[in-house]
Symmetry: C2
Subunit: 715 residues, 2 copies
């Protein structure tokens, strides 16, 4: 029998070798095409994410033609792998291809897309190795495979290329020899005998991303408390210590909307019991209620691996992997019984008691701290695929538990993948380079994932301030003190400006919440890399360098990206500073831009230098920009609270913006229980700007006394 099987394989190899697969693009919804190549595998990313496209919103975005030049895309199946080729145009730039930390533009790079802890190199091993790229020519391509893909994003030169670069003699210094010759295609190796591929188009790169996010169900809309400030307490803190820390935030006047408990909340961890430690948390229910009374939520650290002290250990054993992680059993969550056991345990032990979310750790790797690729799972799904989807699947499960209770959650996760736009999780890691954290923030915007540049500790006052400032302009404003015990006021010299920026984040909640509503309803990412911004014309620049036998033996040109500034929502340009910097360069898109704090003109479509001092994070607002603010507050407002609203207008142009509101905690918005308010600024007959709020029908609307502030024209 064995012999026969091998004969069949040989036959198969011979038959398929060099078998060209035609790509047959089928439009599945306006602006999105699917191609089925070969025999796609049963497990893929979108199936694990169980995406439900927002057909209505996609229809609204409208029809666009399939890009002509993509018709020369091709696929082959060879050596039991699928070889994909997508053409590139001259000067085309590519973005995405996994959550990268060093670079934004990805043309000319190679990625081995592989769920892993980010290790300092943009090589594809990262927390969200999403096989999706966005072109500045108005399209994006998603490879819906849960395998380790290798992507040559415009690096390879085929002998039969129609754009074959001309040979240059490196021995002739005047010949203009280039280390990286021109490549006219993205080539992708999928180690499987078939795959589904999607093309998303758009009039702009942002519209491509919108279609991608809407296809994945629209972006997640966090509960309002999720957008407040969060603090994670040291791992072995007791209930009393946590309550004391929470009280200190209040006393000192620092905002706090939810606290995170680290491994010590469990009786045993690494591997986990998933039950409360009775010495540190003798009465968890009471502890949670006490915090809830203060309008503070609780997030629990976990990793998914079950120790023998867990109540589900014996029952789940048959549904776990051949290999363990820190001696913990690794459940095969593609199996219903494994899902149900966790749902039951987590619901009774946490959700019913009032826990509001999780931090899902160690689903990424570091290789050593995950199952090996030789592991087997009872479902028969290979370890490789399991690794690519484990974090994604866990997010989906947690999401369903909370959905089942009509309560939103907002948590943290260390691994994700394609199809995650709609999942209420923010990615984080153990890496800690502040600049690279901001680059990741930019890159998250192409990929339908959220990222937090969490602050943990710092070497200097200045670094602490700069980190805390950017944290407040990110999807999750988090201080993670699990190992270091840091607090916002730990560095007294900067305690006050940190308080101010935390309060500013709270004031911006209506703007932030609406920005996330745009993510959900329109697919627009809350944070936006500059390359997604209309009127931003900077392209990646190359800089030639001299010969160096060691550091750069091929004299590879250095690339220059814009990765240290970004947009938060439609109007706010954030240009953070990093420790050691007194001044920085800001690149403004076309049109006039104004200083957020003063309303004064900052510049228009230009590059300029700023020297902003320590107290503030530089923020700029687009001409005609509308930014609503509530009064400074320490908690995210509860559903009962009605607050006065100040609506700021910047610049000289008329403008309008739709403010979103709902109950801030349930899924009733999916059934229409929300309000969009049109905030309009028009010039009156005297040419003076006037504001007007058009509230169609109040349905969960929490603002009163709308006051207009014309930051530029009235100051």
């Amino acid at each position: 029998m064995k012999k026969l099987v091998f004969l069949l394989v040989v036959f198969f190899n011979t038959t398929v070798y060099a078998q060209k697969q035609e790509i047959n693009w089928q439009e599945i919804t306006p602006g999105i095409w699917e191609a089925v190549i070969g025999n796609p595998e049963e497990i893929d990313l979108l199936r694990i994410a169980e995406i439900q496209p927002r057909t209505d919103a996609l229809q609204k975005l409208g029809k666009l033609p399939f890009p002509d030049f993509l018709k020369t895309s091709s696929a082959d199946i060879n050596d039991n792998k699928t070889y994909l080729r997508f053409p590139l145009q001259k000067e085309e730039q590519l973005f995405g291809l996994g959550l990268n930390f060093k670079t934004v533009q990805q043309r000319g790079t190679i990625k081995n897309l592989h769920v892993d802890h980010y290790n300092g190199q943009d090589d594809g091993r990262t927390h969200a190795p999403i096989p999706f790229y966005v072109s500045d020519k108005g399209y994006g391509i998603l490879i819906n495979s849960a395998r380790y893909l290798t992507v040559y994003a415009g690096t390879s030169v085929r002998a039969d290329s129609k754009d074959f670069p001309s040979e240059r003699n490196r021995n002739d210094p005047k010949a203009g020899w280039e280390a990286q010759p021109y490549s006219d295609a993205v080539e992708i190796l999928v180690p499987a005998i078939g795959v589904k591929v999607y093309v998303f188009v758009g009039k702009t790169p942002l519209e491509v991303v919108q279609r991608y996010n809407l296809f994945n169900g629209g972006g997640t809309l966090p509960p309002k408390w999720g957008l407040g400030f969060t603090h994670r307490t040291p791992t072995l803190f007791t209930d009393k210590q946590v309550l004391k820390e929470v009280a200190a935030f209040e006393t000192k006047g620092y905002p706090l909307s939810f606290v995170g408990l680290e491994p010590g909340w469990q009786s045993t961890s690494y591997p986990n019991s998933f039950v409360w430690d009775k010495t540190r948390f003798p009465q968890p229910q009471q502890f949670l209620s006490e915090l809830r009374k203060k309008n503070i939520r609780v997030n629990l650290w976990i990793n998914p691996y079950t120790g023998s002290k867990s109540p589900v250990y014996d029952q789940i054993r048959p549904y776990t992997s051949s290999h363990t992680v820190w001696m913990g059993l690794v459940p095969d969550f593609t199996l219903k019984p494994a899902q149900e056991l966790y749902k039951k345990l987590f619901t009774s032990e946490h959700l019913k008691m009032g826990v509001s979310g999780y931090k899902v750790d160690e689903v990424d790797g570091y290789d050593n701290w995950l199952w090996p690729d030789v592991a087997t799972f009872p479902s028969g799904i290979p370890a490789e695929q399991m690794r690519q989807v484990y974090g994604l699947k866990f997010q989906k499960m947690v999401d369903s538990w909370f959905r089942g209770r009509n309560t939103r959650t907002y948590g943290l996760v260390r691994a994700s993948n394609a199809g995650a736009s709609n999942l209420p999780f923010v990615i984080y890691n153990d890496y800690y380079d502040h600049r690279d954290f901001i680059t990741a923030l930019c890159n998250s915007s192409f990929l339908g994932v959220l990222w937090t540049p969490e602050a943990r500790s710092s070497k200097t006052d200045e670094e602490w301030l700069r980190r805390m400032q950017t944290v407040c302009f990110s999807p999750m404003a988090m201080l993670n003190a699990w190992a270091d015990g840091t607090k916002p006021w730990t560095y007294p010299a900067v305690a006050e400006p940190i308080k101010q920026v935390m309060l500013l984040r709270m004031q911006l909640l209506p703007y932030l919440y609406t920005t996330f509503a745009q993510y959900h309803f329109e697919g627009k990412p809350p944070v936006r890399a500059m390359n997604l911004v209309e009127g931003f014309s900077f392209t990646t620049k190359s800089e030639t360098v001299g010969l160096n036998s060691t550091d750069n033996p091929y004299g590879l040109a250095l690339k220059q990206d814009i990765k240290d500034q970004y947009m938060l929502g439609d109007y706010l340009l954030v240009a953070p500073l990093f420790a050691g910097e007194k001044s920085r360069k800001v690149i403004l898109p076309a049109g006039k831009w104004y200083d957020f704090y003063t309303g004064k003109l900052a510049g228009a479509g230009e590059v300029f230098q700023i020297t902003p001092g320590m107290d503030k994070i530089p923020l700029f607002v687009k001409d005609g920009g509308i930014i609503p603010l509530i009064p400074p507050c320490l908690k995210s407002p509860a559903n009962e609270t009605i607050l006065p609203l100040t609506v700021r207008h910047y610049g000289e142009k008329e403008g309008s913006w739709n403010l979103y509101d709902d109950d801030g905690e349930t899924f009733n918005y999916e059934k229409g229980a929300y309000t969009w308010t049109r905030l309009e600024v028009k010039k009156d007959k005297n040419g003076l700007l006037k504001g007007n709020a058009l509230i169609a029908k109040k349905n969960n609307f929490h603002y009163k006394n709308i006051r207009w502030e014309f930051m530029t024209t009235s100051k």
Copy 2:
């Protein structure tokens, strides 16, 4: 038809899933067992290397039993991959697993063995990712696959492990939680439905390596000129500039045995023409003759990729890859016509003119600078396998060209793999960390490859001296000035001690040449990591460290290896210093050890500190050690030259050592044209040491006037 094929695959997958493959070990020669698992692929490493085991020498090493505990090894075929498992014993240490640069002991690490330029991490991507490991328990395992293998070298913990570690609670500081729990197996993923595996045993780890090398045909024996000093001139040097540089070595009294010409010798390069540049080298034949008259050989830089200016371009086109490297065609050297075209061109253009060797560049990767994994080759061999064997195959070809002319060569290559022991190439790269270069030297000794810690340039005098010192105690003493134009005397403050160490290397040629003869005839590597040395008892130490949220969030114990000292041959312990160090620790194996320069006792089986000053590289000799020297000379002696020999004896013990000699340039030694001379030191009746040389039958013997020097007892 397509449908049918896919159905067959599904059938295949289902059938093979969880299909246990028994491992049936067959003894193929004393101390070496082979197991055929599943259906091994046509292309494998040893087949490409065309190994010819030295059966006579293997027989002489004798019989040993198959290690009992290895009988529980197992194999499965799953997801079209082979999963291998080999048990580990408590306290066992593993070495090898590719040419690593940071660590020596490899238990507890994960490798993705992949031919690539070394990138600063011991992750398996390296120049010689040899799937072979040596255990200190006296065996070694080779996975003879040309695929990208993933090796979990004692990192994974199976749920059904018999040595399942006990759970520890990380929340309990006294529980002794460990980041890396005990793992009882090496597990290997081979992405193919079968593979051949070999077990090599030995009474010592050294004997394991000997069997491995002898199985591969025995180590390479370089020509005598190959062990002299070599200098690579700047890339655009003309013939006159090269001759002037050569003359400067002579005038200033620095040894030089062969020069290397970098890309500029070719009319065009990157891609290559492979023909001489008529402006820089108008009369190559005359240039080569002139150098040969001075007894200086020439090595040519190439990479294997053909440009349109090459005479073979049009003819070779049908035998090349779908993808190019720097626009050069990539020949498929598994095809006879491609081999023949290169042989013809290289023979007529280089070998016949008097070229003595090559530096084979860019066969490793950097990924960007190689064909992508989606490339296809006319032989049908997948790009992945081609990458793993390309450097190996090229070495084999060059070796055969020179063998065909009964002339030895000794060159450089940037990629190799298993089966290379017998190939006359030394690995080098663009990386440049001095300490890591020495670690690589240690690691090369487990793997049947040679490595040079070449010197290129330095930031300080001291660094230059320290680098040049270690270069002289390595398989190839090379200054690579291609980009920097450095010379041995570039740093005047250290020019004299550098001259002295270069001359010392020349004096040691008889010792070095014999050391390589041991490599060839007995399989003993010329450089030996301390872990291969008898009486060396240091084991890798772990050091626990404190909690750090960023740099080491799991508090992983730090390992401590001995990787900064090594043996050169049987007697010489080299303990180099690195820039910035005034003193260093030396670990001596059991028995007494003596200072090479003075003959004084240095210590015995102990760890001690030395502060040796700038002028010398610390060298220690084993008690009873015998080291033959010739007078200082500037070239490797020609075959005609007969030289006086000083034989040094160190310590107090009697001893004997076999000195090897032959013509130094042909393969006649393979037909017995050599001399082994037994150098014996015995005590006479008065207890005084006396030396005696027993020359059985002179066959190519180049020494006269043997003079004995008793370094310890007569000084």
